[in-house]
Structure formats: C-alpha cells, structure tokens
Subunit: 472 residues, 2 copies
C-alpha cells in the first residue's frame, strides 16, 4: 500500500538505473523466442518500451509465457528498472530509456478481441489516403490496415485511447482554458443560459423539439438571445461555454447536430471595434498559448496527422476587399452576395498567399445576408456592423454589433417577417435601457479541427452527433 508510482511521461535518462513502479496499459507484446519479449506500455499520450527476459532471479520462462498471454489493452502493474538505450526507441514517445521489467501483475484484463489494434489506429495514413470511406473497404487493405473513421466512432472508447486522441482532447481543453483565461482577465463573467427554450426562435427551422410535460419546447440553437439579455441585465461582459443544438440534416466534414459553443457578448463604450479588438486579442492568446504550452501534444498529433503550423497575425479585411480579392482570382460574385463555402476556402488560400496568415477577420458583411438582430452600418448602406472570423479558409466565428434600440429592433423583426410573439421575452428585454453591444460565437470543435488541420470535425468531438449518429 502507498508505494510511489511513476508516470511514463517522467521517464528519462535522469532516472537511469532506478527502480520504478507504475500502472499502464499493454499496447502490444512482441516475443523474441521463448526467453525474451518487448512490450509497449502506454499511459494517455505517452508510451515506453519495456523488456522482459528470463534471468536467474525473478523472471522465469513461465512468466514470459504469462506476459505473452496478457491481452492487448489490459491494465498492468509493473515493477521495473529504468535503463538507457543506445538507439532512440522511435516507436515510443519516451525514446532515451526503456524499462527492464522485474515484476508484472494484470490488474484489469481486456477482452482479447479488440475491434482494432491501437497500433493500427495510431499509424499515419499514406499520403493521399483518407479514412472516410465505407466500412467494408477495411478488409480489402492488406498491407497496413487502416481504421476507418466510421469504425473508430463506433468503438470510440477504444479509439480515444490513441496517443493522438489523448493529445487532441488536451488541445480541446486547452482552447477553452485559454478562452476563459483571456476573458476572465478582461472583466467578463461566465454565465449559463437555458438550453430548453419556449419557442423555435430564430426562424423555426433546424430546431430540435422536446416534449416538455404537457407542451412542446425546443433546444437552443445558440445562447445568442440569452447572452444579449444578460447585457440588458447589466452584466456588461459575459461568456458561456456550452452545448449548442442544430437540427440540420448535413453530413459535411464540419457540421454536427450538437457542438460546444464558446460564446461571448460585450457592451462597448463608443464603437463596436472595441469588441473586435477584444476577440482578436483573445484568438491570438489562444493560438499563442497552444503553440507554447501544448507543443508536446501538437507534436504527438503531427506524428499521425502531419500539418503545417498555424500562422496567425492581426488582419482585418472589409467585405469589399474580400470580394475584390476573389474577383482578382476570376470569381464572379456580386458586391452584396454571400460567399459560398468554396469561395471562402479560395479566399483563405488567397489571403495566405498575400498576407501569410491562416487567421483573419472579415468585417462589414452585407446587411441582407445577416440575421435581423444585426446592426446596420449607419455610414455604408447595404453593409452591417458584422464580421466573420476565419481559420485556414473556414469560418469559425460569426458575430456582430446587435440592434440595441427597441424601435429599430421591432422594425428589423418586421422586415425579416419574424413573428414577434415567438421572441417576446427577447424583445421585451430591450425596453428598459440597453447599452450598445456586440459579440460572437465560436465552435470549439472547429477551432481544434482547423488549428491542427484534422479534416473532419468528428475527430475533435468526444462522442460526435450527426443526423445518423446518436451513439455511443
């Protein structure tokens, strides 16, 4: 009882010749004859090679046989001596030492029939291949079996054990942490708005219906109205991290029916660009924090999914400039047209080539393509005080100055043919004095996906939800 346990992450040449005790998973066992074997032991995103060989004292041939019989993914308790290696152990994250096992005990045994091995699930894909085919493809690939995304998601608890996924979800937690850190430091208050709401407020489509005692209720598509109501209630600067629900029948690489929203809303003094400055600073804080504090995790992810480092600097383009850039590349698009996803991606490449940044803000979207609560630009008719934020050519945040004058709000509601009674609580909140304010909402999984160029949002959600996927 109470014996000190070592973690794999801490193993290094500095501990050479010391005895350690640890709990880990057996990722693989490879025997070399009947007298010797190599194990890869794993804890979260760290792996180490362990050697077991017959010696006079502690390890018998029987013992080797027993170790060989431990199913992969079982949890073992190991006594071992740390030992320097001559060549770096490239297959493990700990490369300068290995463990010489003196005792091993299986604490919790895995079923031997794993749906896939962790080795296969962690192997980088050959260039040009992807994992998003049909499940049946798997059997046809002989040489180095790839694990399709669909198989991974079905067996997500095992898939999440790869060192890559352990690192991805540390990055995910890191994004939220850095988001809060920045906003806490700038006087924001964390809020929790209700997810069960009385009406399908923002148009009615794409909303999940809930049976709520003897009536219908709905799941919030965003905390938009409630965070604005908190501004109406004097909170001044608020943020929320919480689930967002979208009943969209989409199967793209970047849509889910449930995702984590990082939302914020802020009263400003004179101009909504105070808010743009704030979130621009926040994004740069997140990117900087990821590249410095999560460098180890990023390296681990790159082993399996190589990606170019994310480049970020301050860059704001007027919507007109974005349109001009697209036209210069031959795209036909009207001044007030919304950009398609493909046009956005092209724009991302053009901006990267011209400004050398993967992060930028497009300000002043055409009023017509934005929701009713968006503040029109008082100086430039047809435009609005609204903006989108992009990472590698994909939108990750949409936001705007909001209409805070109750009469203008009612006018805009009418123009957009929204039924006032479906948003009565929201409209009423603007009757009793409201400061000018702006805000935005970020998709947590998108930020992670795009920062690491992971290609599919399901890779950055623990248990992703789409129209056909609701388990596990």
């Amino acid at each position: 009882m109470g014996e000190k346990r070592t973690i794999i992450k801490d193993l290094s040449a500095a501990l050479a010749d010391e005895d350690v005790y640890l709990r880990a998973r057996v990722q693989t066992y490879r025997g070399v004859g009947a007298k010797k074997g190599f194990l890869i032991l794993r804890q979260r995103e760290h792996t180490v090679q362990a050697v077991v060989s017959v010696d006079a004292d502690q390890i018998s041939k029987q013992m080797i046989k027993y170790i060989a019989s431990i199913p992969s993914e079982s949890i073992v308790l190991v006594h071992a001596k740390v030992s320097k290696v001559l060549e770096p152990v490239k297959s493990c994250t700990v490369q300068d030492v290995e463990l010489q096992i003196t005792q091993i005990f299986c604490e919790n045994k895995s079923d031997g029939r794993l749906p896939f091995t962790l080795e296969d699930a962690t192997r980088p894909l050959p260039v040009g291949e992807d994992e998003e085919g049909e499940e049946t493809e798997q059997a046809t690939d002989q040489a180095a079996p790839k694990v399709l995304l669909v198989t991974r998601l079905k067996n997500r608890v095992i898939d999440l054990r790869t060192i890559t996924n352990q690192a991805i979800f540390k990055i995910q937690a890191g994004v939220s942490k850095l988001f809060r850190e920045y906003l806490d430091g700038h006087g924001f208050t964390e809020i929790h708005s209700p997810k069960i709401i009385p009406a399908a407020s923002e148009g009615g489509a794409n909303v999940f219906k809930v049976s709520y005692f003897n009536r219908d209720a709905f799941l919030a598509q965003s905390p938009q109205f409630y965070k604005q109501m908190c501004i109406c209630a004097d909170f001044e600067r608020v943020y929320e991290i919480g689930p967002v629900f979208r009943a969209e029948n989409s199967f793209t690489h970047r849509h889910m029916t449930e995702f984590v929203g990082l939302d914020f809303e802020m009263a400003f003094q004179e101009h909504y660009h105070e808010v743009v400055d704030m979130f621009e600073g926040m994004f740069l804080h997140i990117f900087e924090g990821l590249s410095t504090r999560y460098a180890t995790e990023l390296e681990i992810i790159k082993r399996q999914f190589p990606f170019e480092d994310f480049k970020a600097k301050k860059l704001r383009l007027h919507y007109k400039d974005a349109i001009a850039l697209l036209r210069s590349s031959g795209v036909e698009i009207g001044d007030y047209d919304d950009m398609s996803t493909d046009q956005e991606k092209l724009l991302g490449r053009l901006v990267k080539a011209k400004y050398d940044t993967d992060f930028y803000i497009i300000d002043k979207f055409p009023l017509a393509v934005r929701p009713f609560y968006t503040m029109p630009d008082p100086q430039q008719p047809g435009y609005s005080n609204s903006y989108d934020v992009f990472m590698r050519g994909e939108e990750i945040m949409s936001g705007a100055q909001r209409v805070h004058d109750v009469n203008l709000l009612l006018e805009r509601v009418k123009e957009h043919k929204v039924e006032v009674k479906t948003i009565q609580g929201y409209v009423d909140a603007f009757k009793y004095g409201v400061p000018p304010h702006a805000g935005g909402g970020i998709g947590l999984e998108r930020v992670c996906m795009l920062y690491c160029a992971l290609g599919n949002i399901r890779r950055t959600s623990l248990f992703p939800r789409d129209p056909k996927r609701v388990e596990p």
Copy 2:
C-alpha cells in the same frame, strides 16, 4: 471620442475633487425643490449618489427639469466632480464620496413603466416574510412593496439588475472558476459529453424526449455514463461543467428541470478514498476562495438576504454514525433505510451542533439505495463505496466508486432489472480494461443557494426552468 471612463467601483475619497466621466444607469431620482436633485447611479453591483443643483455655469433650471424627466433605468453618460461627504451615504455601496454632476446625457432611454422599481427589488424583507406567495398578494402590501419571486422571474432581465443579483451571479461564476482551478491543478482534463443520448438510460423515468430526425432521442440526465467512458478511454481524471436535464414534476425550493452540473470522475490507485480526499480538498478550496476573493459580493448579498457565514471543515461520517446521530435525537430509522429530506435537514442541525460545520461527507451508503453502477463495499455487506456531500443539511453531491469489472457490472445490471440493450454502449466500454475509479456530481445552483442560504434555487439560476416555467 476616447475620453477616459471611470467605474463606480473605483470611486473613493482618493479621487476627491477630480473630474470623472462615466456611463451608468439612473436607479432613482429625488428632487429637492426645483433647483436640486439627487440621483442614485448604478453599475452592476455598485451604486453612488449624484447631486445636481442649479449653478451659474453649467446647470440651469431647465436642466434639472430634464434630469427629473429621465425614466429610471435609463442609461446616462455623466460628467461630474468627485466630492467627499460628511456622513456616509448608507443607501449606496460607495459611501465616502458623491458626484457633483456637471453634464448629463441620456444614451438609452428606458420605458418609464417598469414592472417594479429596482429600489423595491433590492430592499431586504422584514424578518419572517418571504417572497414566494401568489402574485396577487403584491397589491395588498402598502407600506414597503415587496417584489414576489414569481414577478421577479417573469421580469428576470430587470430583476437581474439588482446589486444583489449581480453579486449572486459573480459568486456563481466564482464557484465554477474555483472548481476548475483546483481540478486543473490536480491533472484533470475538461471534457464535453453529448447531451443528446440514444436511450432513456438510467431507468427511463424523468427523461425528456427529443424528436431527432426520424427517431426519438433523449436529453442526458447527467454526464455519468460518458465521463466513466472517458475513464475507460484513459482520460484518468476528467471534469465537465454543463447542463443536466431532469423531467421531474417537482416544485420544491431545490429542484429545477435544467441545472448546471459540475461533474468529475477519477481513476484511483489503491482506494476510493483517494477520490474522496480530492473532492474534499476541492470543496474546501471553493469555500475558502469564496470567503476571501468574493468578500465584497457576499457583503452585498447579505444586505438583502442576511445569512450566517458558511462554516466548513473536514468531517466524514460513516452512514452508521449518521443513523446513530438521528436515533439519538429520537428519529426511528432502520440501518439500511434512505434518509428523507427532513431527516437530512435534522442531521444537518445535529452535525452543526456537535461538530460546528455546515459541510460534511457521509460515506458508505447502503447498497440498496444506490444505482446499479455503485461499487458494493467488499468488507461490509449491505453497504457500498458511495457518499453524499452536504451543505447546511442539504445534499449537494452524490457519488461513488463505480463498478469497473464488466462481469460484476452485468450482474448488478441484472439485479436492478435494467435492460442491457438500453445501455449497451456503456457496458461495452468496460470490456477492454478499466482502472478502478470514482466520482461525483454537484449542482452549481445548489452550492450557490446553500452557501448564501438563499432559500430558493431559482434565485441562483439566470433563467430557471421548472415544470411550469420555460420562459423567458
């Protein structure tokens, strides 16, 4: 443009005779003849008295008339000189100075017909009165109108503006912040589990049904299964802050249909008391942090809702000791009976009298009163490795060591007559090696309510939900 703005919180004698510029709400205006008036200006949980009087230079009689006409709750921009006062201004939070207004501009006008005044909404109740009667009672109270809870919640955006509510929701944010701070410092990873789940997993009752494309889905009653699945997936220590949904038809002071869960789950090395030690330390960190870092907010809350300071120390009782304490006070209760809410409250008083603490843990609940996934106590038949945490005699956290052996789990599932197929994804997660683990879940609003003895959980939820309340 760009003129420096002062915040009311920073006003003090140190700024005497300085000119300041600020935005605030007009809480009240009281005229003294035609030439002078007093305003109370408010920003969040801070108020200051402002004086306006006719002088040769800047303030005309017309101006006084204009100021008198500004509806309460309007947002104004004020130029003023800071001025020391002879007597403390007891009605405001800033007591040693007032403002001599030189200019005032109404930036956003409130409707003059407020459902209640902020003065009434902030007044402490006379001893023995409460605010939870029927709405019609309001009209009968002449002297000092009280604002009933039902009226407050209907007009929540205005109600939330009271300095008391501003302080309450800073406390709420503080609890989460301290929770994360402690767990981040102990190697936990923040997770986000899905709220849309495939089956009414924990028994089927009390679950909201969602129309999910062409099938039914449900809202998660807790992240219990998913946080355990993260342990199965090697996350080792996880926490989540997110909404929890309960379709219970309850109208008590401590039930809501949607609340914020602070959940954590942790693999341990040798004994589940490692986990109990962890969350005991976490609770003490929260209580300590509130009393030191949020002292101002607590004082503001006490002005309206006086309460005894919360006392906390380390105290763990075996379930048997709790039963014995109740019996010593004349309660008839069997060894393995569950405690009723009233018995819990009585126990709270007995513990307070005997040990002088409002916080304590009861360990080793009878196995029969706990869910199927609770680990039986291997030494004491009839008991289990499970615990509840109490604040002021009310349960705020329930938790346990979980069954991590798949065969024992299937046995317990069978014994509890749970249909395996409704929890197949959960059960499957235990097939491939799982470390021993334990955890628990806390209701954020309950912690805030009980720490400040606020008497009704709706006071600590921004927009509370109960079976009859789904708006605003």
